[in-house]
Amino acid sequence: MTHPSTPGIETRSAKRPLVALLGNPNTGKSTIFNQLTGLRQRIANYPGITIEAKNGVMTLEDGRELDILDLPGAYSLAASSPDEEVVVELLTGDTVVQRPDLAVCVLDATNLKRNLFLASQLAEYDMPIVLVLNQWDIAQKRGIEIDIDALSNRLGVPIIPTVGIKKIGLHQLKAAIRDSLERPMRMARIEWPAEIVEALDLLEKTAESNQRSLPRPEAERVLFDSPTLLTPRLASDPAVAGRVLEEARQKLRHAGLNPTAAEAIYQYAHIDRILEECRHRHTENHGHREWIDGLLVHRVWGTAIFVAIMWVVFQSVYSWSAPFMDWIESMTGALQSTVEPMLVNTPIFQSLVIDGLIGGVGGVVIFLPQIFMLFLFIAILEDSGYMSRAAFLMDKLFGWCGLNGKSFVPLLSSYACAVPGIMAARALEDPKARLTTILMAPFMSCSARLPVYVLMIGAFIEPAYGPVVAGWTLFILHFVGLGVALPLAWVMNRFILHTPSQPFLLEFSGYKVPHLRNVLLKMWEGGREFILRAGTVILAFSVVIWALLYFPRPPEVAEQVESEFIATQGMPETEETEQLLANRIDTAYVEQSYLGRFGQFVQPVFAPAGFDWKITVGVLSSFPAREVIIATLGIIYSLGDEVDEESPGLRERMAAQVWTEGPLAGTPVFTIPVVLAILVFFALCAQCAATIAVIAKQVGWRWAGVSFCSMTLLAWSAAVFVYQVGTRLL
């Protein structure tokens, strides 16, 4: 529902040619894509298949338009992650997506041999190809000299050297794309040895005799990848398919070939020969900058530097974004006070716009600076090449519980917002680690939890224990989720998931100076999702919660409160007493509202955690989006909801709350154990509809349900535990 693909269900014109852009991860492919398409791009969403690719429109010099599909980074067509499966799915062409008319394969010129592996797998498909040698300037600096004309002649396809970030070679690339669409060029294919050809023939003939079509490139995938999505294409009977496949692979073994290794061994030998013919000179400088790695990846110093970097990131996210947050806050307030007098004649509408719309959405938009800041750091760390080192250092720390080092990026992103964090988990090859990462991502302390922490700590912990304890409480709360998630992941992997884990293989990307434009674009893409969410889901729920707290609003309630007030305190004369009466009336309305009644009904469930019915209403209303609690508490504590977590009025009001009935009557509601229970509850609970929807999209509704139920139950148990222990100790 808040998924980025929703706004742009792609309706592609069938007339435009489709160009697929593919390549290994970290080749600068996205930069090329951004520059070919400008800002005319969107996330493509094709119903029925799990394709996650950006679609853009490129305009040729003669005004013709092409569709460009930016496929996820892939090392090999022997797909081992959902991202790689997308590429195979598209090339196979049996999806609802039209088969591309041209493949543009972006290669990292500094690591040509490895990058040509994907290109030569691609060459097996009957599809015109254009090769791009990106990062050509760095390759030249490092002394890698390739005769591009010779290579182009040898491979039979156009090869365009580019420097993506400096827009060098872009014109030539556009021209090559245009020419190739008119005069398609096929890339030179490898000559397989007789044994492999024999095995492939066997598979093709079997498929044919079963009235199925298995073209050569797909037969290769079936033979080399053994269990693959394409195996059923051999025969409808899985037993027959399995037997024939085993027979074909046995042919390779008899010839002394490991069927799993044969493709890479022959393809690389083929690539080595070609590069040997086309290379002038080759020096051993690979840009790993040994002295930097000696420090950053050092088992002691590297780990210490990692901790320091994380500390700086979190410090900066909170301190640098503060002025922007203050600005948004004052803008929200200004907007409310500007609009308020305009709607004074229609109190219901006024309340809807001021409290529901502006208050609700403003309360969410205020976290945008923090989200942008965190994504800025993530983009810088990614583009500089550090992220792969961080994944390396973190692997052991995450490995014991079924995650792996590559879980680090999704989990770090989840500190801003779990939605992009869960999306980032798609790059993980190991299905077990991927699922675990997705289910653990919502436990990370996302920025929507912050307002709750700030409110509670500021109102109760700081006055009682001072700013140092308050600071530490905030710091520790950021790791409560992580601290619970890791053992939980272990339990899940030990007792529930029984699939064996897949290998952990991680490429260190070369160090680069991050490019400003790319970094800003990534930052924008990360934050855009959050804005969309604020504009859709949060907006809708703000209105619904406002309505549930506003209606039914019978006038008798106000009359009754007024007469009681006059009976006990006399006619309100001062402005102060008038305000007091108005607040009492509002409180009574909230108590009588639909959500108020429901809160009182549900309160016994939360009683063991020390929550009164008002806190219960706050908790219940924040299930769609946890940040809603601030607005809800504001309404409940009858200040209208133009409050925020820094508002002293709300804090004082909360501190003044006392139990009106029951055994605790007369004592304050917000004792330290209650406050801690609330904090722990919010740290652990799955109060985010957007996250649940994204989990469902990635791994299905069953796991989304498991995630929601287990997190809620865990949050409740932890809150009860904290309250019960807290009341006995404090």
Partner: protein, 109 residues
């Protein structure tokens, strides 16, 4: 790896026999050295990558091929994973994966 296909054949045959001999157990017999035994600063030549799992296909496609040189580059905290330098790329794997790779240590790098 600069050699032609024919040069690969002997090593492939050798790997085959080893593979047939120890289907699942990677017994640390003294005659066979595996990549996880490579120590910091040491270099070796890859003899073969054993097994037919997805992992093995992946290891090959990242460039761990018979005949190529491999060097120990970095060890993470607590000794795992280890980053190796192969054909100009730095690739990290866990000891568990490194056991698939049979190597011939080079005495004098």
């Amino acid at each position: 790896m600069e050699g032609a296909i024919s040069a690969l054949r002997p090593s492939l045959n050798m790997s085959q026999s080893v593979f047939m001999g120890s289907e699942c157990g990677f017994s640390s017999s003294s005659s066979v050295t595996r990549l996880h035994q490579l120590k910091p600063g040491e270099q070796a030549v890859i003899v073969a990558v054993h097994g037919e799992t997805r992992a093995v296909a992946r290891i090959h496609s990242l460039g761990f091929l018979p005949g190529r040189r491999v060097a120990h580059s970095h060890t993470a905290l607590f000794g795992d994973p280890v980053a190796y330098l192969v054909d100009g790329q730095k690739i990290a794997m866990r000891r568990q994966e490194a056991q698939y790779i049979e190597i011939q240590p080079i005495a004098d790098p």
